[in-house]
């Protein structure tokens, strides 16, 4: 929202020593955020009125002309591309040193003395949008200053009366401050901040007029708590005087005609939106009612909307004339022919206005204000001000009806009690009681003191939404006292051991091992997945929770597994990276399983953390081997015993004979598999991919097995090697178990090689291992170790059909 300093100064005289920047900062630190500040004159420095003396063709450019221009101090030559330049025209000239927006676009550029296609050019003849006087795109015409009574050389700022400073207030920060949506409210705040005096706002009372028997019927007083209206006749519609145009333009509102400008002027001054109807079209009976289902209205912006029961209309008793608080209808507004008008100054329910404007996707200066809960007391002030202004602009105008005021239930004022001690306890300050009183009084709160207790009455303009309880009043005191005046301190607490979160601890260990130990990269991905991805991987979208309102082209389903994300990560990266080694830890969502309570007696869906890994490397035809290592290492470091079991019914995306269940403490906690090559291909991945997924929350709940110290063996170990061939499909894990069982003295079995191929019979594999024997009672003799090895060999030959290789 734009606030004009000159307008503010009509109501408050700020201290002379206060610079504009300081004022902006004060407002930001205590009230609302001033996003930027524009000094109109500064922006127009070195831009003056010029008189074109002659125009001639450019010798080497068809589209350029050479102008000789009187800029007051001298005559100068300027090359210009404008098509409408003529001799004798008054124009805006940017002299060297001025900053302009080239063709109205992009960043500001400094004008310099230059040569254009070989001809000297000492400045620039500007179009409106090049010097920020028009925001209209494509407005490339040179601005004709013909109607301006000023000599060549006069600064443009002086000519246009652009000597104001405009503060741009961040819109969201006004959410709870409807009282600041107009200049008077902002002036009240500035007066409180700078300890300056605020002028009272007392427009003339409206005299009772005759001629129009105006009546208003409000059918829904909740949606329209107050409706005021008055008719005027003798109106001559025409252009507003410059000073009104300038004010409106400074605040980003276009001047339309004197009547509409009056309503906008009052809105910008007080924050109260108004509307003016043509009384000869609207008639004298106004009815405020809900729209009928499918009722239609065409607005003054010439767009037609279909309405519903939740929307409020201003009607002539039958036909809709305006969408209440949002926009006027086509035809019922003020036109050149209008001579009699009805001013509306009403208060509409904020929720109703917001819902209507959201549903219709129709926002206006009016709806933006009503949405924020306006003070119903403003209606009267605004109406008085509008009549006063209209009479000033149109001396022939007169009030032609009585003032209608439908206001069945004025809200009661709110009073809260508080003490300075309470304020100081909440803030950690020592603000004296008299300052508490002073701050509140400056803000317009009524303060009465009884013993130590203040009874604080909240002014109507703050009571609509923002201030209703003690804490709200404490905030008022704090922000005006200054957040920067409150000294930091740290709270003291009794020592209380924090609750441990095993999932978080476990996730931390997993992250560390995966990234620093195993060289994998952690990825964060979305919680949402597309139906196409689910189907390609053989998941049933029907099983998944779904967003009611996904982003247009986005993924509507909630992930129930990290597998789709992991595939997606491989898809994204596999062309640029020979090795893709990534992991993700995130929540997944199960609609059918119960999770946390919802605070209202029900349960939310279960949302456990999953841990997923993907591995794919160019040329690696069995990435599952590396992936298995990663799973194993990570879980070992985290303190778990992990084994793998061939999966009996692999999932749809899994390679049918390269898929395993991950068992921790003998129970299934995850899966590990290579992707079916045809699935990978369907996803556009031209190499092998292995993926693992574990339920991290479930694993964390198991807790770590305690690590127990084993004594250092007192006698030396005996080491032997063994090598043998067995059938290809002999699982290594079962074989190891059997070997360990075969010898009581065996302490380590370290498989160091598996070989297939040349020299080994087809369907066979060769395995080689280091075996360590140990006794806790004595040093083992060679014969004893030989005997153990014999037992192992015999067992392998008998039970596994192994053939010893040495």
């Amino acid at each position: 929202m734009l606030i004009s300093k000159k307008w503010l100064q009509e109501f408050v005289a700020t201290p002379k020593s206060l610079t504009d920047t300081e004022l902006a900062q004060k407002i930001t630190l205590s009230t609302v955020e001033v996003e930027s500040m524009k000094d109109q004159a500064a922006a127009l420095e070195q831009i003056v009125v010029g008189m074109i003396k002659s125009v001639s063709a450019h010798p080497s450019a068809d589209k350029l002309r050479i102008c000789h221009v009187d800029v007051g101090t001298r005559k100068t030559q300027i090359v210009c591309g404008g098509t409408n330049v003529t001799s004798g025209m008054k124009v805006a000239v940017a002299l060297p040193g001025a900053w302009v927006k080239w063709h109205g676009e992009g960043e500001l550029v400094e004008i310099k003395k230059t040569k254009l296609r070989g001809e000297d050019s000492e400045g620039m003849i500007c179009s409106s949008n090049e010097i920020g006087l028009s925001q209209t795109e494509g407005d490339h015409e040179i601005r004709d200053l013909g109607n301006v009574d000023a000599k060549a050389g006069t600064p443009l700022a002086t000519v246009l009366g652009l000597d104001d400073v405009i503060f741009d207030i961040e819109h969201k920060s006004l959410t709870n401050r409807p009282d600041l949506m107009g200049h008077y409210g902002m002036a009240r705040e500035v007066a409180a901040l700078t300890k300056s005096k605020l002028k009272s706002y007392e427009p003339k009372k409206i005299p009772v007029g005759k001629g129009i028997g105006l009546s208003v019927k409000v059918e829904d007083e909740e949606a329209c708590p107050r409706y005021m209206a008055v008719a005027m006749d003798g109106i001559v519609v025409g252009a507003s005087p410059e000073w009104i145009k300038r004010r409106l333009e400074a605040c980003g509102v276009r001047s339309i005609n004197n009547v509409v400008d009056v309503t906008n002027y009052v809105m910008l001054e007080l924050g109260q939106p108004m509307h003016a109807f043509d009384a000869d079209i609207l008639g004298d009976k106004i009815a405020v009612r809900a729209a009928y289902p499918k009722e239609k209205i065409t607005t003054l912006a010439e767009k037609t909307y279909q309405l519903d029961l939740s929307m409020l209309l201003i009607t002539d008793g039958q036909k809709p004339m305006a969408i209440a608080g949002v926009m006027g209808g086509e035809g019922s507004g003020v036109s050149e022919k209008t001579t009699r008008i009805i001013f509306e100054s009403a208060n509409f329910n904020p929720v109703s206005v917001r819902k209507t404007s959201t549903k219709l996707a129709l926002r206006s200066e009016s709806s933006a204000r009503f949405e924020k809960s306006l003070d119903p007391n403003l209606c009267e002030l605004a109406l008085r001000r509008a009549v006063e202004l209209m009479s000033e602009l149109n001396p022939g105008a007169r009030v032609a009806s009585k003032v209608i005021d439908e206001y069945p239930r004025p809200p009661k004022s709110i009073t809260v009690s508080l003490t300075a001690d309470l304020v100081n306890e909440r803030l950690g300050t020592e603000i004296p009681a008299k300052d508490v009183e002073d701050i509140l009084t400056r803000l317009g709160f009524e303060v009465r003191m009884k013993k130590e207790v203040f009874a604080v009455t909240i002014p109507s303009w703050r009571a609509t939404k923002d201030v209703s309880i003690v804490e709200d009043v404490v905030e008022e005191i704090a922000r005006i006292w200054g957040y920067d005046q409150i000294e930091s301190s740290l709270p003291s607490f009794s020592i209380k051991p924090p609750v441990q979160d095993p999932v978080r601890d476990f996730a931390r260990r997993v992250r560390k091992t995966m990234s620093l130990g195993l060289g994998a990269t952690e990825v964060y991905r979305y919680a949402f997945v597309s139906p196409e991805m689910l189907q390609t991987l053989g998941f049933d979208p029907g099983d998944h929770l779904k967003l009611a309102n996904p982003l247009a082209e986005d993924r509507p389903y909630l992930c129930q597994s990290l597998v789709p994300n992991l595939f997606d990560t491989v898809i994204i990266n596999h062309r640029a990276f020979p090795v893709v080694s990534v992991f993700e830890i995130d929540r997944v969502f199960f609609g059918k399983l119960k999770g946390d309570e919802d605070g209202q007696g029900g349960m939310l869906p279960a949302q456990p953390y999953h841990f997923g890994i993907a591995y794919s490397a160019q040329g690696d035809e069995s990435p599952i081997v590396e992936l298995r290592r990663q799973v194993e290492t990570t879980l070992h470091i985290a303190g778990f015993d992990v084994t793998f079991r061939e999966m009996e019914e692999p999932g749809a995306w899994m390679h049918p004979s390269r898929a395993a269940e991950i068992l921790v403490n003998g129970k299934k906690h995850g899966v590990l598999a290579e992707a079916r090559p045809d699935v990978a291909q369907a996803l556009g991945i031209d190499r092998r991919v292995a993926i693992a997924e574990l339920n991290l929350s479930m694993l964390a709940a198991l807790g770590r097995a305690p690590s127990v110290f084993s004594p250092i063996p007192p006698y030396p170990d005996a080491k032997r090697d063994i090598a043998f061939t067995v059938a290809e499909r002999t699982p290594a894990e079962g074989l190891e178990k059997a070997v360990r069982k075969a010898s009581a003295l065996l302490v380590e079995y370290d498989l160091f090689d598996i070989y297939r191929g040349k020299g080994i019979e087809e369907g066979q594999k060769s395995m080689a291992a280091h075996i360590t024997f140990r006794s806790l009672e004595k040093t083992l003799e060679a014969q004893e170790v030989d005997e153990e090895m014999r037992k192992i060999r015999q067992m392998l030959e008998k039970e596994f059909g192994a053939t010893m290789r040495s």
Partner: protein, 353 residues
């Protein structure tokens, strides 16, 4: 005899000084100290001496032996040092040569890194680190936080609702509990207070969601770190103190902070917390958009209605809450200009951290 021994010592010292190689040194050692060497030769002769004489000469012989051994030790060190220098010169390696076939080390996501850093700071100050559901009830996400059903934040254009569970957003005045993707980590405030009671010091880092179109500065998925402190006599000054501690930790002791009013329904007063720009130190630069300040720490004193929802008496207890934009802190820390990189899964981005 004695003279012979002294002579032997002198002879050895002279010879050993000239030795340059380990081999020659070994030979010299055998010559003098070996079983058949010169010293043992003389020692054998000692046997024929008279008792008294032998004792005397024996002492000298020992001295000589020790002296020879010491000289030998010194020479040995000298020779070995000389030969090592020669070897070292030959063993030159180009230390700038790259390592071939090295396994690249992996990386933690930048959000993880900054989050863990903050978790450590807060746990060192006695805070618990808590975690809660991302798919949340509209009760905890909104109602419990003093955001009534008519509030704009509940509009479906701002919040992701779950199909079949649109609750208050779908039907006006509906009693049904809606399910939403939490729009802020503040959704855990009331849960934390209910579960752990007063006094409470906790942070809740986590993933949040907003239904908004993505561009370089907006993401529908982002990360926050919520903090809640409740106790007797907890004041605005305490909130400022904790903000200062975080600023000091993140950007160095004495980093200035600035608080100004901002409205959130679940706090009163609400504040917009800004840090002095770490890059320009408040002078104004591209990162802080010439303002000298970076908005990073929104918070406020917990609204009495929120305390009541958690069953905490607002007359007796007070507290403050804050919700740092973790994603924003990460972007500022690393100078990331496009928020979409963070959840992109693109290794060209992630491998930089």
């Amino acid at each position: 005899m004695k003279g012979q021994l002294e002579q032997l010592k002198k002879e050895f010292v002279e010879l050993v000084d000239k030795v340059a190689s380990r081999e020659a040194l070994e030979e010299l050692k055998t010559q003098f100290l070996g079983r058949k060497g010169k010293l043992s030769g003389l020692m054998k002769e000692m046997a024929s001496l008279a008792d008294g004489e032998r004792k005397l000469v024996g002492a000298v012989a020992n001295e000589v032996k020790e002296a020879i051994e010491a000289a030998f030790g010194e020479a040995e060190q000298k020779v070995s040092k000389a030969s090592w220098s020669a070897t070292a010169a030959k063993e030159w390696i180009d230390v700038t040569e790259p390592t071939f076939h090295a396994r690249p080390h992996g990386t933690l996501h930048p959000v993880t890194q900054v989050q863990q850093e903050l978790e450590e700071l807060f746990t060192s100050m006695g805070f618990m680190v808590l975690d809660g559901p991302e798919l949340e009830s509209d009760y905890y996400n909104f109602t419990a936080l003093n955001i009534p059903p008519s509030h704009p934040a509940r509009d479906m254009q701002d919040t992701f609702y779950i199909e079949g569970k649109t609750g208050a957003a779908g039907k006006a005045g509906s009693e049904e509990t809606g399910w939403v993707m939490r729009t802020h980590t503040s959704s855990f405030q009331v849960r934390a207070m209910r579960e752990h009671g007063v006094p409470l010091r906790a942070i809740v880092p986590g993933r949040c969601f907003r239904n908004e179109a993505t561009d370089a500065r907006h993401e529908h998925t982002f990360h926050q770190l919520e903090g809640v402190v409740v106790g007797e006599g907890i004041s605005f000054a305490h909130m400022k103190g904790v903000f200062q501690a975080v600023a000091d930790h993140l950007y160095g002791k004495g980093t200035k902070i600035r608080l100004s009013p901002k409205f959130y329904p679940f706090v009163e007063p609400g504040v917009r917390g800004e840090l002095e720009c770490f890059l320009c130190k408040g002078k104004g630069c591209r990162v802080c958009k010439q303002s000298g300040w970076l908005e990073a720490m929104p918070g406020g004193m917990i609204h009495p209605n929120v305390l009541r929802q958690a069953g905490i008496d607002p007359e007796k207890y007070s507290g403050f809450a804050f919700g740092f934009g973790l994603t924003r802190l990460v972007m500022l820390k690393y100078g990331i200009d496009d928020i979409r990189h963070l959840e992109s899964g693109d290794l060209r981005f992630l491998n930089q951290f």
